[in-house]
Symmetry: C3
């Protein structure tokens, strides 16, 4: 951790991120905060209009705002077309990431033929196996395991306790959170009369540049070809990606969603929390799936898709759910009435 | 493990837990068991009426029963208003927990400035980083990782392989099961034209006294403020708690449930297995959500809430589900019939 | 990893696996591949008829085919009644598994009274606790933890970072993937007025021969009796098995499915991804549950069962979902029309 607190003038921030400055540029910013919690040395932002009322009461030193909001704000402001994007960039200045000294921690166990860049950092109790490579500036936190023939690209960071089982290739600047398991066997079974035969999983996992993979997320190796995440794919926690799935660039998936084997998801998709995608499907670019929906067939048109029923008090829900079991019959009853009506 | 088997007289148990004794107090109890499996030295209990019939055939030495059940039981009994609560307390006497000697295992790696209480136990291959604190009587099993500025409260127990990434504060007597990840980055992304910008996650995680957190559960750090579990919150396995969620005291969540960012769940709620709560919602105190339901709007009244459809044989389900796709149209067809009927 | 590439003649493979050979037996096979990706030294297979067209264009040396497909294939073939089973067996010859030398890695920490077979392999940073036993030929990859009174059967393999907390007994040839947690406390709580009392979990976990347990899957210890997987049960990733569940032989469960406490699942069942089974239910042998369905009552007849609604574009779904909330009322409106109609 850096011992010194970061501090910037508003003018400095405006210049650094090419933002318009309103008011005094010599206002000093020591940190970022929410509108409600900010003190007089902190910078805030307004992205969600539901919090606009808090602009009047915030104690913040300054705010990142859209032009129209800035006009009514009585203190200094940085004007941005997208205040959330500007905030994300500025906030990174105030993030105190633990420093990771280059080098291999004396407790780590590294195979003789593994290639570790001099600028890479391998933390305590890491295991790096034969044929593995760790590129420039990559960081392995404590308890990481980089298995046979795995490759960690430059500036990638395995936060802690990440397992790359075998044949996993991470691009550059990939961030993997604790507990993630990449490259475990895909779930391949053949039924031989009365018992299961395991189908060997001979492929690997390829993760593009700038991907992020959440805590306890699992991405299995392909059966023959690879499981692939294109660049800038963002996976939240506890996501399950089965063997031979392909996920297009810039797609984001929320927590606990899952994709079954060999499904293909396009570019720029957004998959809601707990949603599922069945195997061997194709979802085109620009598709949004809402939370806990199940995709049971390919989707060829961009747009938003949903399944499920709305939440209700249990008593009402029970009555309606009971009728769902006879919905086809209800339809036939209405048909009968319609026919009779037409015959009159 | 203790080498000696625990053993108590029934009179001793009655006195220790303030229960009414029926029958011989000198009956010796060497353990607890189910009604069906108990032998003549074991104590059983009846909480679920569906097992009442087994009272007649159990070989148990004695039983924990409600007063009316005790009357018909031919052997010794401990009478309790809530036999399950009494059982839970008594069974704890027979639990053989591995002893954890105070001190730091020689293989553990502890930052020079971390504060470890003399009575705390730090197990093999643990990593405790700068600024961390482990209070009196706390236990870290093997492979735990207590990151920067994390705090483990007195008598808390990280069973094994628990990761506290950064800025996580556990209260007293918190129990965390293996594979749990607390304090990983929240899933914050800003869309900058055609790619994602990571939003720094500058908050922490605060866990109140007496909480329990299940195996492979994940609780992310807040974006600016903290993610908070109040006291006595009980989380089962594989639960996902996103950044800035707040969960009220005594709320229990079953396995695989998930709460999206900034949602607030009240006190004394019960969230069923696999249920989901969307972000930025509020659920009031005393709400029950049934399994695999999805909460899509705030809930202001206590009670039980559900979504989903009942399970059916696949053939019937297919027919009904196909009609669901035209439910609005079906409603209009009925309206048409109603109008015609009214016009007659 | 073996330095030499495996290589077989087709005649050798035919003999080894008792398959009919069509064409030249001296064709040399250096590996397996998909129809689309194969080169002239590789063997392919056709199991899914949707890929039949690719038989005409594959560059593969030979193919594993059903008799009728083999007739039209211009090159050498191995004829099998079930090409996928034959493929699974042959592909295993080409799997390059890391060699695990017998013995205990010097970094591992093994309790003095743990029994480790001479032919077993205990990897780096493993912890084996008091009363544990590791049988002949079993392999523990890096970061595994075998807790008190746990037993790893002969030829079983904990790939890496597997935690067996306590009282877990694995049969022979059990394969457990990284991040799995077996034997954590079941989720047992008794409500004592206004707070929770933990119910001690005194049982264990028993896993039969030939089971496979996926990455980050959790299987809790029983409360009093054991949680049981019979032989040849196959669990994918991120599955949650609660305390006292029993799963019958040869049952396979797909990723993210979950079974609540004390449920019993029969033999030869298939549970789809993300499906849930409520507690204390019984599912008979030979039942299939489709993805993300929720089993809310016991199932006594073999067959396929489903719940949920079909995915639709969000606009249509919203309209239909809104009507679901009034489905019982819609039914009553139709009844009213029917009565009026009958009265005419």
């Amino acid at each position: 951790m850096s011992g010194t607190q970061a501090s910037y003038t508003l003018a400095n921030l405006a210049k650094r991120f090419t933002l318009d400055l309103r008011g005094h540029g010599d206002v000093r910013i020591d940190g970022v905060a929410t509108l409600a919690a900010a003190d007089e040395s902190q910078l805030v932002f307004l992205a969600n209009p539901r919090y606009r009322g808090e602009l009047a009461t915030t104690r913040a030193a300054a705010a990142i705002l859209r032009a129209d909001d800035a006009e009514h704000f009585p203190r200094a402001a940085l004007v941005a077309k997208d205040p959330y994007v500007a905030y994300a960039k500025i906030a990174a200045l105030f993030e105190r990431l633990p420093a990771s000294a280059p080098g291999i921690h004396p407790s780590a166990i590294v195979a003789p033929d593994a290639r570790i860049a001099a600028s890479a950092s391998v933390g305590p109790f890491c295991v790096v196996e034969a044929g593995a490579a760790i590129d420039d500036g990559a960081v392995l936190g404590p308890h990481c395991h980089v298995g046979h023939d795995c490759h960690v690209g430059a500036q990638s960071r395995l936060v802690a306790r990440v397992t790359l089982v075998a044949r996993v290739r991470l691009g550059k600047r990939v961030l993997v959170h604790p507990g993630a398991v990449l490259g475990a066997d895909g779930f391949g079974l053949a039924c031989d009369a009365d018992h299961w035969i395991k189908v060997p999983q001979l492929g690997g996992v390829v993760v593009g540049d700038d991907c992020e993979i959440g805590a306890n997320t699992t991405i299995d190796r392909g059966a023959l070809d690879d499981t692939v995440l294109e660049e800038d794919v963002r996976l939240d926690n506890q996501i399950q990606i089965a063997h031979n799935v392909r996920i297009g660039a810039h797609t984001a998936m929320a927590g606990c969603s899952a994709v079954a084997g060999s499904a293909k998801i396009g570019r720029g998709c957004q998959i809601g929390g707990g949603a599922g995608v069945l195997g061997h499907l194709e979802i085109t670019d620009g598709v949004t799936i809402t939370s806990m929906a199940l995709v049971t067939h390919s989707i060829h048109e961009p747009g938003e898709y949903s399944s499920g029923t709305p939440i209700q008090d249990n008593r009402s829900w029970r009555r309606n759910a009971a009728r769902f079991k006879h919905l086809d019959e209800l339809n036939r009853r209405v048909q009968t009435l319609e026919k009779k009506d037409a015959a009159q």
